[in-house]
Structure formats: C-alpha cells, structure tokens
C-alpha cells in the first residue's frame, strides 16, 4: 500500500458516465502540482448507466482511486456519508460529480484548512444555473439557514467543501443533511471559512433536483436545530416544554382548591383542564427522563464534540498531556 494520503476527494456519482473520466483527469491535473498525497473516493449511488464500470476501470489504472459501490440508489447524503467513511485522508474534500465544481479550487481550500479552519465552504458567487428554479429558492433557503443556525454561510448548496477528517467523521449524517453539513457541524463549534469558487454550467447529464427540495431542507433544518439544541440536556428541555402547562395547571388547581375551601360553586372545566395539563406536564418530564437515558446510552456526547475542535494550552512540562488532547 502506498503512503497514507493527506487529502481525500469524495465524489458521489449518480448516472454520470460522461463526467467521471473528465472529472478524474481534472482532479489529477489540479492536485498533482500541489505535491500533496491524495486519493479519490468515488461513490456510485446505484447508477443505471455505465458509471460504475468506468469508475472501476479508473480504479484499475490509478491506485489513488477507490470506488464505493452502493447496492442501489440511496441519495446524495448517503453517498457523501459513505464517501467520508471510506476516506483515509486527514482532509476530506467533497464535490459534485457533474463537473460544475472546479477541482482547481481545491488548493485554496487546503491552504485554509492548514491555517486552522475546520470547515471551508465554497461560495458559487457566479452561479451558472437557472435563475427562477434554482438560484432564487436557494438564496431564500440560505438566508433562512443562516438565520436559524447562526452560521453565516451564503451558499449551503455548494458541494465543494473541505473538512478536517477528525471532525466530519464524527458528525452524524442522515436524512438529507448533506446540504448543510456546516450547520450540523455547528454542534461541534468549528471554525468555518468561506471562499469564492468557480462554477461551470452543466455539460452532461441532467440535473437531479427540483424546487421541492427547499421545503425538505427547511423541515430538516428545524429538526436539526431542535435536536442539536436539546440533545445534550433533554431533561431541561422537556421541563421547559412542560413549564407553561405546569403554570396553567397550578393556576387552575389553586383556583379549584380555593373554591372548595370557601364552598363556592365548582367550575368543572377549570378543574378538568387543570388536571389534564398537570398530567401532561408530568408525562413530559417522564419523556425527559427517558431522553436522558437515551442520550447517555448513545454515542454522541457533547464532550466528544467539543474535543473535536478544542484548543488545549498546557504547561511545557506536561508534554504527555498535550499528546492526549
């Protein structure tokens, strides 16, 4: 086996038989002058055309190419996740398989990672797509994502991104999350940089996305935001959720109790809804306890996330300690 690559380029392919060879050539041409040992991980997302055969041929000609073959089509997030998992480099660059990203930009990404950034995101400032069906919805979605996550990225949809491998390999990727990995990665508090990249019009094949994805992105985003904010302190979160109910029920029940004391006419709706709210609040607190249990048994704890990006400054004498961090 050759030396371990420093850089892994992950490219998911779905029915891109015409793009794959030019892409391979372009990546090689762009990266060889950099003098960095690199590998390419091609993920075949269950293509129905010759994509896999061509990729397999490339792998036989070029030892730097590895091809991950999916059993069937699982979608881009899964392809990205598989590529990232199979990657062996310290830095992982993801890009689209449709030649719309330019591998010549990768050098700049690497430089920024070397400067200490954990994630570098491409920004297609001069985007070559249709205005109404692609650019405008994506702009709206990006604004929303930035607003919700507080990560000011202008172009979440650009696949050309670079990650420190230790970070990205620990971030859970599922559902349709590949579109905003930086937003998900936010739970680990990474240093994020954004740079302008070139963007080319599609040469071969057809685009695989439509307008419908914006709605999905927003839903996913809300899910992530909720889960990320609540994952590490579920008990607190659930208690907060039950708080308004507790207040309501306390008011209603106090009122009922005082009515009983002064032997007034009892109001059934107030007593009833007081009891109902109280029960519900209790159930929510119980759910919080269960959530606490799940979190403890799970394998994604906040300490680990913080460890991914932390800076540790230690006294000189304890060099051994530094290694551990």
């Amino acid at each position: 086996m050759a030396q371990r690559p420093k850089l892994s380029v992950c490219v998911p392919f779905y029915n891109e038989e015409q793009s794959i060879e030019p892409l391979h050539a372009a990546v090689v041409e762009a990266l060889e002058p950099l003098g960095v040992p690199f590998e390419m991980v091609f993920v075949d997302d269950g293509s129905r055309d010759n994509t896999l055969a061509i990729a397999a041929q490339l792998a036989q000609r070029d030892p730097r190419v590895r091809v991950v073959k999916f059993r069937r089509n699982y979608g881009q997030t899964a392809a990205m996740a598989a590529g990232i998992e199979a990657a062996r480099g310290d830095v992982i660059v993801t890009m689209d398989g449709d030649l719309q990203n330019d591998p010549r930009d990768i050098g700049a990404f690497l430089e920024l990672i070397d400067q200490g950034y954990d994630i570098v995101v491409g920004w297609r400032h001069d985007r070559q797509d249709k205005l109404v069906s692609r650019k405008i919805p994506s702009r709206i979605a990006n604004r929303l994502i930035a607003k919700v996550t507080g990560v000011p990225i202008r172009d979440n949809g650009c696949s050309l991104k670079a990650y420190r491998a230790t970070l990205i390999k620990r971030i859970p990727l599922y559902s349709e999350m590949h579109r905003f990995i930086p937003a998900v990665a936010w739970i680990a508090g990474p240093r994020i940089a954004e740079i302008k990249v070139r963007h080319h019009a599609r040469k071969f094949g057809t685009s695989k996305y439509g307008l419908s994805r914006v709605y999905k992105v927003l839903l996913d985003l809300m899910v992530i935001k909720t889960v990320a904010s609540f994952a590490s302190r579920p008990m607190l979160w659930f208690t907060m959720l039950s708080l308004p109910m507790l207040v309501l029920s306390a008011a209603a029940l106090t009122y009922t109790a005082s009515a009983i004391l002064v032997k007034q006419h009892l109001s059934l709706p107030i007593a009833g809804s007081g009891l109902v709210f109280f029960t519900s609040a209790l159930l929510l607190v119980c759910a919080g306890a269960v959530a606490e249990l799940i979190y403890r048994l799970g394998d994604l704890r906040e300490v680990e996330f913080s460890a991914l990006t932390q800076n540790v400054q230690v006294r000189r004498a304890s060099a051994a300690l530094r290694k551990m961090s």
């Binding site: 991950v68 073959k69 839903l219 899910v223 889960v227 107030i270 394998d299």
Partner: protein
Amino acid sequence: MSDRSLDAPELSVIIPVGARHADLEELYADYRRGLALTGKSFEMVFVLDGALPKENAALEQLSARGEPVSIVRLTRRFGESTALMAGFQSTQARVILTLPAYQQIEASEIGKLVRAVEGSADLAISHRWPRAGSAWERFRRRIFHRLIARATGQPYRDLGCAARCMRRRVLEELALYGDQHRFLPVLAYRQGFRVVEIDVRQSARDRFDGGYRPREYVHRALDIFTVFFLTRFTKKPLRFFGMVGAVTLGLGLLLNLWLAVEKLALGHALADRPALLLGSLLMVLGMQVFALGLLGELIIFTHAREIKDYQVEEIIEFSGDDAKQDGSRKEDDARLPRRPSPYLG
C-alpha cells in the same frame, strides 16, 4: 471453505409448520416433485412451531426413510417469523427457499423462483396468478395492497404468499421478528436488496374456506400500520410526529384563544363549555406527540453512525499487477460454515 459446506445442498427449503397446515407427508411428496424439476440438490427444514406430536411422527418417518429432512422443534408457538429464523439457523445452502405448510402454489412452479434468484434478484416473491376467489375477495386484496403500496411506495400484489426464494444474505441481514415475515420484501428492499415479483400458478388446493373473520380484518389493518411505521417512523420520526404534533397543538391553542377572547371581550362564561376541554386536550395531545417524535429523533441522532441508511455492496480498488476486478469483493459464502443450531439435537 470447510468440508461441511462442500457437501452442502444447492437449495435449503424452510417450511414453518403452524396452526394451518396440510398433511405433511403429502406436502413433502408434492414439494419434492417440484424441487426435482429444478435439478438441484436440496434439504428441507421443517420447523414445528409448538407441540405437534402427530406431525413430528410423520416427519420422523420421512427422515427414517432417508429423505433429506431436518426437524426443528420449538417448545411453544413462537410465530412464523421466529420459526423461519430458527429454521434458517440449520440451513446450509446459499439459496434459501421458504414454502408454506399448505399448498399455495403449484409445486412445479418453484423452479421459476429459483431461476430468478440465480439471475440478478436477491429475493423472488411469488404472485399467485391467475387467482381464484370471489369478487369481494379480489376487491379486498386490491385495497390491502394499494394501501401497502401507499405506505411503502412499493407496489406488491401478493404479500400473503409465503413461497419465496432468496439469497442467504437476505435472511442473514434481516433479523425477522413478530409479524415481519409478511413484509420480508418491504424490509429487504429497504435494506437495498433487489426484489422481484414472479407470477406463479396457484395450487388447486389453495382455496379459501369460508370468509375472513373480523379478527383477520383487524390483523390486516395492523399490518398496514406496522409497515407504515417501519418505513416512515424509523427514518425521520420528528418530521412526521413533529408535523402531527404541531398541527394538533396549534388547533388546541387557537380554540382556547378563541374561547379566551369570547370570555374577555364578549363576556361568554367559560364554565360549562366543553370546547375548553377539547382545546386543552388537543394542546396536551399535540405536545405529547411532539415529545414522542423528539424521543425518536434523539435515538436516531445518537445512533446515526450505527443505523446506516445505505448498504455498500463492495469497495473496488487498485489491486496490484494481476488486475482482478473483484479483488476485494465480499462473497456471501465466505460466512458459510454456520454455528450449529441450538435447536437440533
């Protein structure tokens, strides 16, 4: 490869014997004829689901006559899924055939299923066609399968037929339990296997005696429910439950707000208004549903690295001088020598 797998048969047949079954000797003879047509060596594993002394005796006789019959005896009735998995433990072949304990399909059609699996399919399920039955039965079946297709996005036409043929991998990766055997194709497809449905002739004996009892309808409705949750909930719980919860909560809030406005502005008394209870209950329900979704999402989130929603078939890489394409191919028969079954004496 061990010696044991060298003389392993080409086909392993699993027959779970539950409450409904035909005369086993006759059934065996029938299936045997069908299997002979495929020209393959086979073994037949009967799983007795519960204490069935008479059937046991019949099978032991077959076995004593030198027929390739294994018997797995379960101590109580565990259900068909568990019976299948228990039988699977003591099979050896790379191709597994599951057959019902009563004639559903013409035994001569078994070859069709086997051929499909020898082709590109991982799982071949049968569709009894042409099919006997009254107009009402046909209608009921149509509705059932239409609903299943709605929930899963996969159009199956005969999930009730237990005659299926599959590669060994399929059962290895899917640990069935409960009523899941019915939805083997749904689960297998989700796991990334290629599933095909094959038209086979229905056995003349497979006719339905008497109408379905109400209990059956409840079961089928539960089936649909199960499939729906298997496919929807297990992937994006919060997306589904969050929506339902938010809508319910919103309705309850609106209702209560309206009541409050009426009380404060128009002076309608809140007491003796059932709408208040309805509003409160809706709010409570919405919150609980949302909380459930949150719990589900948390489970998925914290286990995202174990629950992969994709399956890698192989990783192709540069394999040195004698460039062989399948250098790193993971063959499914690498795992062939199986641990001895805990059920076989």
